[in-house]
Symmetry: none
Subunit: 138 residues, 2 copies
């Protein structure tokens, strides 16, 4: 278990440090999405705010986690299901936001179809967000 975390860091050419191990562990235990503030609380004031910002940013760059959109102004992070090649992670699955309970779901198996852009337009990122009612609120 601990080895999986260490391996993941090693595979991405990151030094194995306490904060990184701890934050990855939080994600694995949570099993879902976490906000920056969640991590801050759960890590028990152990780590500096700034360290968390930088750690999350590093993880996103390496493709270990990805950000998911929310209706309120917060940014959520979640572990990437598939292992992506470092640096070139494409977050190409659909997100679903429930209007009732506000939960955000990663629909990992629903892929964003390739959109064909007019001439001269270059795609860098595509977000497909569906809102409506989730299975629990229906």
């Amino acid at each position: 278990m601990q080895n999986r975390i260490a391996d993941l860091l090693k595979k991405n050419q990151l030094s194995i440090t306490d904060s990184r191990k701890k934050i990855l562990e939080l994600f694995q235990n949570a099993g879902g999405a976490l906000a920056h503030s969640d991590i801050e609380k759960m890590s028990g004031e152990h780590f500096d705010r700034v360290t968390i910002y930088r750690t999350l940013q590093t993880f996103v760059e390496k493709g270990i986690i990805h950000t998911i959109p929310t209706v309120d102004n917060s940014v959520l992070y979640a572990l990437c299901k598939d292992e992506c090649s470092a640096g070139h992670h494409h977050d190409n699955h659909v997100h679903f936001i429930c209007d009732d309970c506000g939960t955000t779901y990663c629909l990992d198996h629903v892929l964003i179809p390739k959109v064909e852009l007019p001439l001269g337009f270059t795609e860098k990122q595509t977000d497909l967000v569906v809102s409506g009612t989730c299975k629990n609120c229906n």
Copy 2:
């Protein structure tokens, strides 16, 4: 045209003020999604930052506009379906936002593909936002 805007405000029991008229006009002209910062720029320093915050919040509460979440930290706003119809139907097409110049394009001929949701999920609205570089900045 101007009447449509006034009617919309009236219908929602809102006083007809300059800032509200101007902001609604911006949305109609843009034909797509706008960020708070876009509105601030486009309104030409005419309105207070705070007024824009409060106006957008009011519009969201009244259901005149809705937020479109994106994976980066920005929140986009767009006119709700029912209201943005009149001349055009801005319903099911893709929005493109240029990272360089910040312009939002309505790609009217690029339709959002139907996404298949897991059982129990009900779709109410789908937003597909592509970001990258537009034809002018490329």
